[in-house]
């Protein structure tokens, strides 16, 4: 599959759009269907696509293992961090009203960062799982 010219060209063309679509889904979540989880999945799918066409090694260079593992944790920390920020600013845990002088604006800000946290963790986990399963097959060479 790695040497198929058509795939490589189409892949090169499509992958930026997939990633862009992920970003769109992320930020448009307030107005249309979508949000952090879907965006994270689509973003990860884009990179998995890249790995399938250009090989796992190149994908790992673009998004290295250590970064992926950090993403896992960073997303949860970001989400919980928003919650703690609410605490520190005098509200309850996960209180977005206090994040800005204008409570409605504070809500929007909170939702934005929270969704970002979800996207980061989901994307990290999807990639990590893919790397894990993919790299395992190389050595032991199962069927199919």
């Amino acid at each position: 599959m790695k040497n198929d010219l058509v795939l490589r060209v189409v892949g090169k063309l499509l992958i930026p759009f997939i990633l862009l679509f992920a970003v769109y889904v992320q930020f448009h979540g307030d107005f249309g269907p979508g949000g952090g989880f879907q965006a994270g999945t689509i973003f990860a799918a884009g990179i998995v696509f890249h790995a399938l066409i250009f090989g796992l090694e190149r994908a790992r260079k673009v998004v290295p293992d250590a970064l992926v593992e950090a993403m896992l944790a960073a997303g949860v920390l970001l989400y919980a961090g928003v919650g703690v920020a609410g605490l520190l600013l005098g509200g309850n845990f996960l209180d977005y009203f206090v994040l800005d002088a204008d409570p409605i604006h504070g809500q929007h800000r909170g939702i934005f960062w929270v969704e970002a946290g979800v996207a980061v963790t989901v994307c990290g986990v999807m990639l990590k799982i893919f790397y894990m399963f993919a790299s395992r097959g190389d050595g032991s060479g199962g069927g199919a």
Binding site: G32, F37, I129, R136
Partner: protein, 123 residues
């Protein structure tokens, strides 16, 4: 009875999934059954949230009737939890395949019993 048609479909799907989980010995097939079982539960939540003439809960001035957003939120969470469970189950299944050399439940039990017998024989 018409009013409950969606529930009947849901029930049949659920039970089919549950049956696959309990009756089949193949670890991967069990997981597929488990995800069918979980997926069908989504219908139980979502279907009653629908209103005839309503629209998706994305507010816009031209609509006044929306389906209930709360079940959607719950099921979004449930889907994510479901796939996380599936992924973890598959990882365990892969490890079992590597250490036991099989993913059939009967063969795994047989292998464990053999080990047990060997231990008993030694003692």
């Amino acid at each position: 009875m018409i009013g409950h048609f969606s529930h009947v479909v849901t029930v049949l799907l659920m039970v089919a999934g549950l049956y696959v989980v309990m009756a089949r010995g193949n670890l991967i097939k069990k997981l597929v059954g488990l995800s069918v079982f979980q997926t069908s539960v989504y219908l139980l939540y979502i279907a009653p949230g629908k209103l005839i003439g309503g629209t998706a809960p994305i507010l816009a001035p031209q609509y006044t009737l929306y389906s209930n957003p709360l079940p959607h939120v719950l099921i979004l969470t449930a889907i994510v939890v479901g796939v996380a469970t599936l992924a973890l189950g598959l990882a365990i299944a892969v490890r079992i395949k590597e250490t036991y050399g099989t993913i059939e439940e009967d063969e795994i039990i047989a292998a464990d019993n053999a080990v047990q017998d060997a231990e008993d024989a030694r003692s």
